[in-house]
Amino acid sequence: MMNTYILILLILFGGAFAAYFLNKLAPILSGLTAFAATTIATILFYTQVKIGSQVQLTIGGINLEWGINAYSWLFSFIVLGLGTLASLYSIQYMQNKERQGYFYLNFLLSIGAMMGILLSHDFVSFFIFWEIMTWSSFLIVIYNGKDVKKIGIKYMIFSAIGAYAMLMSIVMIFAETKSFLISDFINLISTTGFSNHILMITLLLIGFGVKAAVMPLHVWAVGAYSNSPMSYTSVFSGALSKMGIYGFGIVMLAAMTYVSPTISENAGSGYSIISIEVIKIIFQWLGAITAIMGTLYALKQTDAKKLLAYSSIAQLGYIITGIAVGTKLAVMSALFLAVLHGIFKGTLFMAVGAIERQTGTTDMTKISGLIRKMPWTFIASLMSIIALAGIPPLAGFVPKWLLYEGLITSGHYFLVILLFFSSTAAFLYCYRFLFGLFLGQEEEETKNVKEAPASMVIPMMFLAGLTLVFGTYPGLLFKPIANAMEFVGMHDVTWNMTVLSNVWGDTVSLNLVSIAIFVIFISAALFLFKGMRGTRYVTTKDISTSGEIPTENENLTYQLDFFKPFERAVAPLYKRTMDKIYNAIGESLEAVFDFTRSIYTGNGQTYAIYVIVFVVILLIFKDSIF
């Protein structure tokens, strides 16, 4: 079993370096290498590795453990599945770009590191793989070479904050439990003191929160998601951010829900429950605020990439709320959404990447009416958008239903209102995305655009098809999720293959819903096709302007100020961006640095005087010091 783990990692990491060097021979080879490596790793993983297998290692006197459990098994779907499809997609997407060896090196390194994170059951290897993941993704973020200073440094700073927080927490955990094993951490956390407990959990959650783009730590995400090549962004947003959720889940679910019953028996440490509750409430609200703010900012964007990036942040907010609420239904919905978000956001980023490759831009004000040029991309986007918006019969409906039900049954009514508002507002940007890119008038510039090549369409369509499958048979995903929850201590999770039900006895048969919708869809399509014959195509210039002649400067594109009234309504919320707050912090830090500069003058002689002053102080007080 050990050999299989090592083999999988060896294939991914070795493939990374092979891809780098094969690029010298022919750039296409490195893409093929990446695809081969991910495919082989996937096949190997799902044929050779069994859930629950684990191996003990002792390195340098420290007990380490590698293994796979039901919980990490669930996340391996996203990592390996999305990794394989994205590497297939990359072959054509990256075709004529420079430095492909560099790209694939880091691509495979980050996928291998994610697998390593899922495989490691101890904090040492966990942290090492975490850092490899951070660095490789950082190197891809700066791959384009533009805005490196702004985006790359932002990402690096936040990653560093997260990593240091995590490292501190790991060291504290080791000091408390004398072990690096995650299972020991989970079992022993209830015995630690109050302040240590809070500090360890908070630091760990900061570390994971950075990757999961929780509200105050999300600033890096938009730039990083939109600046890296889209084939990687689908992995970045789809899988890499889920590593944050993975860690979040470990801390939240295992260390909190699992242990709290034993604490309540131990009357002396009742404060631990309070601390858990406080952290839970904080993160519920942070998740909800993240969801709302992400949605609102997504509305404002005119760039499709940034729109999707903000949408990712919003969706991650839902997941975090779900996990932080901690009831069975909420957690189930969160895990479902985690997998599903990987699927539909991966598709959407791939679709945007295809559009970028074919038209050269992702600015929604510049392109429109691509529906005729890129029908397959449109279908994939449409399905993913429907899934994102949570409309049946596609899979997005399932987690939303579960989440609302979970929140209402556990009494979080205000959160429900927030999330409901957020997901309603999400319809707006979903519509804008579809309309801006695919519908509307055809532009002159996009006249000669063709559909993306098959190797890019196939992954998209495959993932879009998955949303349909999971929408009709959510039980396929409920099963591993239930196993995973069983593993982290939530027993007796009930689920049904095709029927959603709630505690009040309402049931929704997804099969029936699907059939009904198909019937409506087909009849509507028949109706539309019949009526479409007489459609007249007009150019963009042919717009009624109430008799006034538009000047050259007037932009008549629909995309600009698309939701202006709505934006005006929620304008107060836009005022305080997290960016501004961080800038204010930065400015006040600079004042501190100015003070430091008056001590560290950069003048060697001043330093020499400091040394001598220090020596003199030592000499004068030598009797009291030594």
Partner: protein
Amino acid sequence: MFGDYQNVVTMSVYGSSIALILIGLYGVLIKKHLMKIVIGLSVVDSGVNLMFVAVGYIKGGTAPIFSPSVIDSKPLMVDPVPQALVLTAIVIGFAVTAVALSLVIRLFKHHNTARIDQIKSLKW
């Protein structure tokens, strides 16, 4: 060996080494010209070397060399260890001075001045 004048010798040897160290340090701390700073460093170097050798000196001792005439008589010899250390220190001091001076030349070529109050590129 020096009889009543022991204090005079002690003061002249130790005192001059302390004086050299302090004078050199003063140059390093106060002088604004880079050459003066390097000269100060070299003066401190000299003072420290003198201090080492003086500490190793033994009254009435001879140089630690067993010439044919003294090889059997086992005379009193001064401590050879500080001398070996100072030997190294002098050569290294030369290397340090050479590199420092080349940096001075480089800085002068770049800024057209060798006064540190006028070279501001690394200060704020």
